[in-house]
């Protein structure tokens, strides 16, 4: 993508292919020899992190789709089936759900980096707008994915978000009915959301290709905002950027792994563990943390149509950023006033996120209105005026001149602090619940443990013949059936015959002590007691035997 490639494969087969399809040269010029500014900091690794997160979401999503059923009667149970019975299903689902959160986290950091260093300015306007389109696609994909588990939050998220379109004058109701495929959110809605949730990630892949293409045409921005002028200003993509990206990715993956393995439900909502019920709305509905700032803007406007317009405008305004920022200095590093307003803007976004998680009443509404107003003032008034009135610092003559002089890292530290705050406030609704659910006891031994096949089948047989006569087989953890008696089941053992009584017609018999040693919770002792001359004496004798057996153990 950057002119004629100098790539010359040594291998004869590769040379043969290269003459017919120059794919090796394309990869070499784009990801090996491609010149990157030598002063890129770690905020520039998030593009690579986002690419890998997209792959993670695609791979886990396609696998989850093999087990999911998009039907209102089966969706919830099929997700529980994934969690309980599918091999490593819990891992795949938690990776997918928390991966979405991390995807948005990385995207927001990526955008704020672009805003701080002026990466949207000429000639990178199209690159930036493609990024805004990617954000819109991500928001749509994330929303539709959240609907699929068909819990209470899923259902009401679908209801509230589709109802946003009813604010459109005249045709609103018809549009909403068209989106639903019915008179309310129902099976047609779930089915089409599933189809689109599968489609949109591939649209994202397509736009990412355009995004990377545009990037490789105009070249990367850098912390100084000065374009590279000579070979002294750049280094080859591989190994320099590749290794730096790989390191940033590993650190980021530790964060993802921490969520997946230690607090997989921290960013979720307990209400989504209740199957969807069209008759009851949860008392406090909030979207996922990454939509909270937009949700706060929606609720801040007292007018329904106005709220929806403000919500849409808050995203669309980003696309006009290249023209709203009138300053000719690109990087915030040399713009002392802009830098302060930038951090105020970051705090306002975090504040909106916090307000979005709060009920829409009293002081929260007033605060949300103030911050919403500031959000738009930042883009529509502050940025255009700053370019006119701000006295900027001298910009270095070249990247290499700046690098050899030394640099400050204050901005990096501040951005890190901002992100820590963002994470800390992400899910206050969960923290409010004082009840801690009991820990899950895993019934298998680590990643290499395996089921006792015979025991599992025996457990299932017992379940089919005994348990299922009273309650269904849904939401059952099948692997737990292999446990002695099953988890939470009481083993009721009929046909008990004390060793000193007649066995009568019973063929498979056991003594009370043997039965208890084998794990029985309840003993059914019939005729030896009921037909005895003195039933109480028999029971007392059995009790004594059990007591003696227990003291011997």
């Amino acid at each position: 993508m950057s002119g004629q490639s100098t790539y010359q494969p040594q291998n004869a087969v590769l040379r043969w292919i290269e003459r017919r399809l120059p794919i090796g040269g394309l990869i070499h010029s784009s990801f090996v020899a491609y010149p990157t500014p030598r002063n890129l900091n770690y905020w520039w690794t998030f593009g690579g992190i986002l690419s890998i997160m997209l792959v993670v979401q695609l791979v886990t999503g396609i696998v989850l789709a093999m087990h999911y059923t998009p039907h209102v009667d089966h969706a919830f149970n099929s997700v529980e089936h994934i969690m309980r019975d599918v091999n490593y299903g819990w891992l795949l689902r938690y990776l997918h759900a928390n991966g979405a959160s991390m995807f948005f986290l990385a995207a927001y950091i990526h955008m704020l980096r672009g805003m701080y260093y002026g990466s949207y300015k000429e000639p990178r306007e199209v690159l930036w707008i493609l990024g805004v389109i990617l954000l819109l696609l991500m928001i749509m994909t994330g929303f539709m994915g959240y609907v699929l588990p068909w819990g209470q939050m899923s259902f009401w998220a679908a209801t509230v978000i589709t109802n946003l379109f009813s604010a459109i004058p005249v045709v609103g109701e018809a549009v909403v009915s068209w989106l639903w495929g019915g008179y309310a959110v129902g099976n047609p809605t779930l089915n089409r959301f599933y189809s689109l949730h599968y489609l949109l990630p591939f649209v994202i892949v397509g736009v990412v290709v355009l995004h990377v293409w545009a990037l490789h045409v105009v070249g990367q921005n850098n912390p100084t905002g000065v374009e590279p002028q000579s070979d002294k200003d750049t280094v080859a993509f591989t190994p320099y950027a590749t290794i730096k990206d790989a390191f940033g990715l590993m650190v980021f993956m530790i964060l993802l792994a921490w969520f997946v393995f230690y607090v997989p439900n921290y960013l979720g909502h307990p209400d989504n563990s209740i199957p969807a019920n069209p008759a009851v709305t949860p008392t406090h509905i909030v979207p996922e943390w990454y939509y909270l700032p937009f949700y706060a803007i929606l609720r801040a406007i007292p007018n329904k149509l106005g709220g929806v317009v403000a919500l849409a405008a808050s995203i669309v305004v980003l696309a006009f950023l290249p023209w709203l920022d009138t300053s000719r200095v690109r990087s915030g590093r040399y713009r002392p006033l802009f830098r302060q307003f930038f951090w105020v803007f970051v705090l306002v976004c975090i504040g909106l996120g916090w307000l979005g998680s709060k009920p829409a009443e009293g002081g929260y509404v007033i605060a949300a209105r103030v911050l919403t107003a500031y959000y738009f003032i930042h883009f529509l008034i502050i940025l255009p005026l700053l370019g006119v009135f701000e006295t900027t610092k001298p910009v270095p003559s070249s990247i290499s001149a700046d690098v050899l002089k030394g640099k400050g890292t204050m901005a990096a530290i501040l951005l890190a602090l901002g992100l820590v705050t963002l994470l800390g406030t992400s899910s206050p609704t969960v923290a409010a619940d004082a009840d801690t659910p009991p820990m899950n006891k895993w019934s298998f031994a680590g990643p290499f443990g395996k089921f006792d096949r015979g025991q599992l089948q025996r457990g299932f047989k017992v379940y089919r013949e005994v348990c299922e006569s009273c309650h269904g087989i849904q939401l059952l953890s099948f692997r737990n059936l292999s446990e002695p008696g099953g988890p939470g089941f009481l083993l009721v053992t009929p046909g008990i015959r004390p060793s000193w009584s007649a066995s009568g017609d019973q063929k498979r018999i056991t003594t009370p002590v043997q039965a208890l040693a084998s794990g029985a919770d309840h003993l059914v002792i019939g005729r030896p007691v009921t037909r005895a001359a003195d039933p109480l004496a028999v029971l007392a004798r059995i009790d004594r035997e059990i007591a003696v057996a227990e003291t011997q153990q």
């Binding site: 009401w156 209801t159 509230v160 589709t162 109802n163 946003l164 009813s166 009915s177 068209w178 989106l179 639903w180 495929g181 019915g182 008179y183 309310a184 959110v185 129902g186 047609p188 089409r192 069209p278 008759a279 009851v280 709305t281 949860p282 008392t283 406090h284 509905i285 609720r299 007292p302 007018n303 329904k304 149509l305 709220g307 009920p359 829409a360 009443e361």
Partner: protein, 172 residues
């Protein structure tokens, strides 16, 4: 021949493009229309009959019609008086109570129980107006289902219904 003058070839280009555009538009019609409610959904949206006899005074029941919850409220004298004592002109969505019930059946209030803000289900007998309160964004409705406070723009809509007998209604 001057290049500014349209030729027969220009006409052919425009005619071909027009036919192509009409064809593309026609191809989009089924792709858009398939998302509208299908025949089975519409069929299931037929009118339903509800027996009012078991609903005691002060009780609000919820039935489903077309996937939407329908509130049927057996209003007390006090609730009717509250709904009628309001200055209609002062309401956000002015509508008098007698337009929202059937004449002679003032005690029966039938409403689509979906908040006109963003579609949540309000809770009956709650809020400052003793009517309906939406837990999502705090909209409050009075005993006639009219919006009194909060972000919702309109009153709770009244579904099409009629009295089949004194104690039975047909919704739809």
């Amino acid at each position: 021949m001057s290049s500014a003058e349209p030729t027969r070839r220009d006409f052919l280009y425009i005619a071909t493009a027009s036919v192509g555009a009409v064809g593309a538009a026609a191809a989009v019609v089924p792709l858009i229309a398939q998302m509208n409610p299908d025949a089975s959904t519409i069929a299931a949206g037929a009118p339903i009959e509800v027996d009012l006899a078991p609903i005691t005074e002060g009780q609000v029941i919820k039935v489903f019609w077309r996937g939407k919850p329908i509130f049927i409220s057996h209003r007390s004298k006090k609730e009717i008086d509250e709904a009628r004592a309001v200055n209609v002109a002062s309401l956000p969505d002015p509508e008098s109570d007698d337009k929202r019930v059937k004449a002679g059946h003032e005690q029966w209030q039938v409403l689509i129980g979906i908040c006109t803000h963003l579609g949540c289900i309000p809770i009956a007998h709650q809020g400052d107006y003793n009517g309906y309160f939406c837990p999502c964004h705090g909209s409050q409705y009075d005993t006639s289902g009219r919006i009194r406070r909060g972000p919702a723009p309109n009153n709770l809509p009244v579904p099409p219904y009629e009295f089949v007998s004194n104690s039975k209604i047909r919704i739809g």
